[in-house]
């Protein structure tokens, strides 16, 4: 196998397992879905976030020499599945990716929650020759909850990694489909906290790719819990004289949900593995294999979110749409996540355009690389 010899598989796996276990335990204990629904405390997630900081999950993707936990991209992204399992409503994915982005440009670990952008195909951020930052991000997840934002900006023909204070931005507050912060952010010639040239491996759409990858994993995690909840419910709920699970039409709907969960988990895991391995081999975000993997994960999990949420709600009946029930926390987030960092239509067009570089037969050569 084409493992990086500098990072022996066993050590990596131990580290992966450690951080994944720690994350799952923390989320289970502090961010239980039912607690999240029943709690009317606006600070409910403050405890979760302190737990995250306490064990260093937020700094997972930052190397140790830059002040992070040095868990690497694979394990850092891997724990987002556990975060998706409980529909975690804190900017963990964003902070992890921001930390990684900054570290790639040699910028050390920042404290607190970080936003991560640009987050849409129409966002545009530039650094002028005086090093001042201008630009707009239409929908920046958790912007108002974060102190700072890590950005990819264009300076002439070069890409820069930039850290900016959110308080220097003009914020237009708005909420996502899942009632979470999704604010408009505008910078007008502000002075960033720090800026450094981006590594050669980066492309203009690197933040969109990484953000999309994170959302795919979160969606897969949320779908996993939707399947668990729905399976448990149909096995205990009686209707028309028997339990719901005895009806063939219910069985088939659930089988279909299991299919969507499976394909989502599979494609997201594949993309994480591809990104981690291929970047480790010195490839960049313009690499067709990396792009195919991430875009596919984004596109496929987005349709899985749609199908999965529909089936889970239908089988839960009216109960599933009540505020007290946990299902909506998962379904609304999975559906909202489809739109962050480029939606599946935009990415499909990107992928289609990429495939135009080769003919029909080149398609198979690309697909069969791994």
């Amino acid at each position: 196998m084409d493992e990086d010899p500098k990072r022996p598989g066993t050590l990596d796996n131990d580290m992966d397992t450690l951080i994944l276990d720690a994350a799952s335990r923390l989320f289970r204990e502090t961010a239980d879905l039912q607690l999240a629904v029943l709690s009317r405390d606006p600070d409910f997630y403050a405890t979760v976030w302190s737990g995250i900081e306490e064990i260093g999950l937020d700094a997972a993707a930052v190397p140790e020499d830059l002040g992070g936990s040095g868990a690497g991209l694979r394990a850092s992204l891997g724990m987002l599945r556990a975060a998706g399992n409980v529909a975690l409503a804190v900017p963990l994915a964003e902070t992890i990716l921001a930390g990684w982005l900054l570290a790639q440009a040699g910028i050390p670990l920042q404290s607190g929650k970080l936003a991560f952008g640009p987050s849409g195909f129409h966002d545009h951020i530039v650094l002028d020759s005086d090093g001042r930052l201008t630009g707009r991000i239409v929908h920046l997840p958790f912007a108002r909850d974060c102190s700072r934002v890590a950005l990819l900006a264009q300076r002439g023909n070069t890409l820069w990694v930039v850290l900016a204070d959110i308080q220097d931005a003009e914020l237009s507050v708005r909420d996502s489909l899942a009632f979470e912060p999704l604010d408009g952010v505008e910078f007008h010639q502000i002075k960033p906290v720090v800026a450094a040239p981006a590594p050669a491996a980066f492309t203009k759409d690197t933040s969109l790719l990484l953000g999309s990858l994170a959302r795919s994993i979160q969606i897969a995690g949320a779908l996993e819990t939707m399947l668990d909840l729905t399976t448990a419910y149909v096995r205990e709920r009686p209707a028309f004289g028997k339990t719901l699970s005895r009806f063939q039409v219910v069985q088939h709907a659930l089988a279909q949900l299991a299919g969507e969960v499976s394909v989502s988990l599979s494609v997201a895991a594949s993309a994480v593995d591809a990104v981690d391995t291929l970047l480790g081999q010195g490839r960049g975000f313009d690499d067709p294999e990396i792009r195919l993997e991430i875009m596919s994960a984004r596109i496929r999990t987005s349709s899985a979110a749609q199908i999965g949420a529909r089936i889970a709600h239908q089988l839960h009946g009216a109960l599933g749409v009540t505020d007290e029930h946990v299902l909506h926390r998962l379904t609304l987030r999975a559906l909202a996540w489809r739109d962050d960092y480029g939606n599946e239509v935009q990415w499909s067009e990107e992928l289609g355009a990429m495939l135009r570089h080769g003919d029909g037969r080149a398609l198979w050569a690309l697909l069969a690389k791994r």
Binding site: R235, V267, V272, S296, R300
Partner: protein, 386 residues
Amino acid sequence: MTTTLEFQPIRLPPAVQALRGEVRAFLHEEMSAGTFDPDFPTEDWDVCRKFARKVAARGWIGMCWPKAYGGQERSFLERYVVNEEMQAHHAPNTFYFTADRQSGPTLIKYASERIKAEVLPKIIAGEASFCIGMSEPDSGSDLFAAKCKAVRTDGGWKIQGTKIWTTNAHRADYMIGLFRTSPSLPENHRHGLTSFLVDMRASGIQCNPIRQMSGIHDFNEVVFDEVFVPEDQLIGEVDGAWKQATTELAYERSGPERFLETLTVLRALIDLDRAEPVPQVSESVGRLVAELHSLRRMSVSVAGMLEAGREPAVEAAIVKDLGTAWEQDLPQRVRLAVARASQGSAAYRRFEDILQYCTRIAPKLTVQGGANEVLRGIIARGLGLR
């Protein structure tokens, strides 16, 4: 989590990918020589037979089987990539495919020594073709209802009855069939079915052709009239064939043949989009390729589980359910993607021929090898619903 669905992101090892390169080079040679056209799969039996010999000469039939019977004991992943390249290029592998995928492995596990020694080397040499006798006129996917009988006689068994939808029965050398040897039991409706190896040249067998809507003839009705089968052609346990059949199914269900049958039309769509890029067409290409990639990675992951000696029955059923539904929808989705095209060019006419072919074969894709309704039942059982 109560439900454990885990798909490891398997990376095919370099040696396996090197083998892929060899297979691809071989296929390109054959395509250049005009042996087959990847856009229009051929059913010409002569072509298929000659192709089987060439593939055999490369050592790519029965490659995972024991050396004692002429196999090479190569890994399941190696067979996987060979098969994948054949399917992706629509190579004429019909002659040997059934034997390589399931009949051979069944014989290895359950057949008598005489049969193994006699038949397996012939399969490996590309000289023995197999068909599968499962469905019957009154029972398709419902195999427990099979009525075609095998009755004990001197030195063996006599078969009486009819099988139907038997692919390639009219030209195969052997059939592995499921026959009723006892009535099913009230407490076990799976009881009473037995597998036999039938020599298709035995007297008393009549194959009546059934043409398909696609214009293809590979289906048959097979009528058995007192067909004698020697005792040592019994496969496995009398009355206990059902259990044998299900353990083989993971191999049959998760392979690339479960989502690549209509791939030609996606290649053709990309070629059209290259000639005259249209954003909506590119979007369709991207979406379809993302779905195909997702299916393939899941299938590769299941191949990794099989290689590791696991029996991923539910995972395999999921691959086949999603894969066949996808390859079935593909022609229609491609048709919609190009619906606004001008349709006058020569390139479009070729595309149209491919689209027609794929649309004609689409309906059978979610039926063959176990209807998707059956697969969903298996998945539901895996989830603990039944």
